[in-house]
């Protein structure tokens, strides 16, 4: 997993609430057996007419080359629905390191964190401020200090993350390393229940 400390980047706003993981990556693309290459199908049916790459939906923001950046900003309840981790893989593969929303679905939040994509939960008011920014404005996400900053104005909000997960992200560790270190305790736990 890539380590994450701090980034400053332009952002891509999708001011839609309840974006479910079926929209992020439709089920028909879940037939792969590796983690790579999902980015090209990110938001597939919002990006193209008739599933055809020759027919982009011009009005959809991912087809607008004047928008770019490693930060996706979306409406409330991002990542609801299916537990498919492919959604996090698709976002990561497309180039997103951060998703900002006022609310995340639980399973998506874990999946994102397990893939080095940082979910940053902000207040509705802060989210609205970001949506009202210009496309060339940038955001800074500082994991160490747990802050999201609108660079133009300096407006800042704190965001929550467990200290354990924060350490993992900053160092690029994943949970398996930690769980494996507990093997003896897990075996003792099993014995205690027999």
């Amino acid at each position: 997993m890539k380590a994450f400390k701090k980034i400053t980047s332009q952002f891509i706003p999708i001011p839609v609430e309840n974006i479910d993981t079926d929209q992020i990556i439709p089920a028909r693309f879940l037939k792969a057996t590796t983690r790579e290459g999902f980015g090209k199908n990110l938001f597939r049916d919002w990006r193209f007419y008739n599933d055809d790459e020759q027919q982009p939906k011009e009005e959809f923001i991912l087809n607008d080359s004047s928008y770019s950046g490693e930060i996706l900003v979306a409406g409330k309840n991002f990542g609801c629905g299916s537990s498919r981790e492919h959604a996090a893989w698709a976002l990561e593969d497309f180039g997103f390191r951060v998703v900002v929303s006022s609310f995340f679905a639980d399973i998506f939040r874990n999946n994102a964190l397990n893939n080095g994509v940082l979910p940053v939960q902000v207040t509705e008011e802060f989210l609205e401020k970001i949506f009202s920014l210009d496309k060339n404005d940038t955001l800074t996400i500082d994991l160490e200090n747990q802050e999201i900053i609108i660079d133009k104005t300096g407006e800042t909000e704190k965001f929550g993350i467990s200290q354990y997960k924060k350490e993992c992200l900053i160092n690029g560790y994943d949970d398996i390393d930690y769980l494996l270190s507990l093997k003896q305790e897990i075996e003792e736990f099993e014995l205690s229940r027999k």
Binding site: Q23, S162, Y164
Partner: protein, 454 residues
């Protein structure tokens, strides 16, 4: 709970881990890359359900990618010593149907699966929730997961259900009240007399859709109904073991003075047969009600969500759905494909024929359910009515396998999600109960079941 990390998550031990072909291959690959073995293979049960055809299951799968995925599951299970109920096996079926029916799911267990509808198993008083593939790999490696304690919500439903109202209507009613994100961050306990009076199948339907309001898990305290259901099932404890277990299971209830972070009270009498009109399961109405007029929706963002949904669905504000033609009826999925669901459908349609204008697909949740359907002669009722009976699998619930609804067409579906494109790109899903689906099958239009049953 093995241990708790200070200012961090707890290490939760997992009793049962269900896996399927779609969310496990990358986890096996990860394990391989690290040179690890599966830590407790005997606590894992595998099946193939999401990406399988529901006709000609005895033949090789036509689609190359799907075949490859199912073959990898077979290979992985063989290599790691995991029990697989794959295609052709008498226990194969939708993972959340087979776990309970085989007696694998038992009160008090912790159960996970790489599928958000794992909440289904909560109907037995288990801690059951869906996980991502990285977490599947963690459970493979250590039989544990790192979890933070969720907030707790109790939803109490007291009273008698109205005629024509079943458990699917209860859960669609709840979600329409609290929205598709109303229980995010929570585990939900369902309680009250209306819940206690439900069968296990009906309880599973409710817990199944907990995730559709954002709750990772939903559970119901086990009682005599639970114990009766489990007794005698294949992997259930037997004889004295069973009696001893029942004594333990009887201790699994919420203390009278327990405090919840949020509590909700609903009168069963207020619940009517439900149908959804939008593109998240929270956008539901009583079958005879109007789609809300936008002037009545106060929250601007909510209004935006509904406007977008109505545009996708080809529906109007203020419109009534009753009487609207539908082209497809899908009866199946981990929400409503159990024997009781299929019996209820059979009772409505017995001796009748489906409307000529509608395609009806009925997909038993498992081989065991399919066998029961045949033994009880329900298959004859279905085929005489003109229903197409398919073989077990997730089928048209998720637009992944061959079973899909064409773009722009309406489908009354007993499944759990009405997201854009969920049943196929451009497909328009109306979620409802098996009874409401059966009624639409007969008439070809959205129909109030109470107009059909006496």
């Amino acid at each position: 709970m093995v241990k708790t990390i200070p200012d961090g998550p707890s290490v939760l031990y997992i009793d049962k881990h269900f896996i399927h072909e779609v969310t496990s291959p990358q986890a096996f690959k990860g394990l391989e890359k690290r040179g690890l073995k599966v830590f407790r293979p005997q606590q894992i049960v595998a099946t193939a359900d999401h990406n399988v055809p529901t006709i000609n299951q005895h033949l090789p799968i036509q689609d190359f990618l799907s075949r490859n995925q199912v073959e990898q599951l077979i290979e992985n299970c063989k290599n790691y010593g995991i029990e697989l109920y794959g295609l052709g096996h008498p226990y194969q079926g939708i993972v959340h149907v087979i776990g309970p029916e085989l007696g694998i799911t038992q009160p008090g267990m912790t159960i996970v699966c790489g599928d958000s509808h794992t909440s289904t198993h909560g109907a037995f008083g288990t801690i059951a929730f869906g996980i991502g593939t990285s977490e599947v790999e963690m459970v493979f490696a250590s039989q544990c997961l790192l979890q933070t304690k969720p907030k707790q919500m109790r939803i109490n439903i007291e009273g008698e259900l109205n005629r024509g109202v079943v458990s699917k209507d209860i859960i669609l009613h709840i979600i329409s009240k609290i929205s598709a994100s109303g229980a995010t961050g929570y585990f939900v306990e369902y309680a009250g007399s209306a819940i206690r009076n439900l069968s296990m199948e009906a309880r599973m339907t409710i817990c199944n859709m907990s995730i559709e309001m954002g709750a990772r898990g939903g559970l119901i305290a086990p009682d005599e109904t639970t114990f009766d259901y489990i007794k005698g099932r294949l992997f259930a404890p037997k004889g004295e073991d069973f009696e001893r277990k029942v004594k333990e299971w009887k201790e699994l209830y919420t203390d009278g003075d327990a405090l919840f972070d949020h509590e909700l009270f609903i009168k069963a009498e207020e619940i009517e047969p439900m149908i959804t009109y939008g593109t998240n399961p929270g956008l539901g109405i009583a079958i005879n009600a109007m789609i809300p007029k936008m002037e009545m929706v106060e929250d601007e963002k909510e209004r935006k969500t509904i406007v977008k949904a109505l545009e996708y669905m080809g529906l109007q504000e203020g419109q009534k759905l009753v009487g609207m033609p539908v082209k497809h009826v899908f009866i199946g999925s981990c929400t409503n494909s159990r024997i009781e669901d299929l019996r209820a459908v059979a009772e409505v349609i017995k001796g009748k024929k489906k409307s000529d204008s509608v395609n009806v697909m009925i997909v038993p949740g498992s081989q065991q359910v399919a066998r029961q359907v045949r033994e009880e002669g329900l298959d004859k009722i279905f085929s005489e009515a003109g229903f197409e009976i398919r073989q077990p699998g997730c089928s048209a619930c998720l637009g992944m396998n061959e079973d899909k609804i064409p773009a722009g067409e309406y489908c009354i579906s007993t499944s759990n999600r009405n997201f854009e494109g969920r049943q196929g790109a451009g497909a328009r899903t109306l979620l409802a109960s098996p009874l409401t689906a059966a009624a639409a099958a007969l008439t070809g239009v959205v129909t109030d079941i109470r107009a059909i049953i006496s």
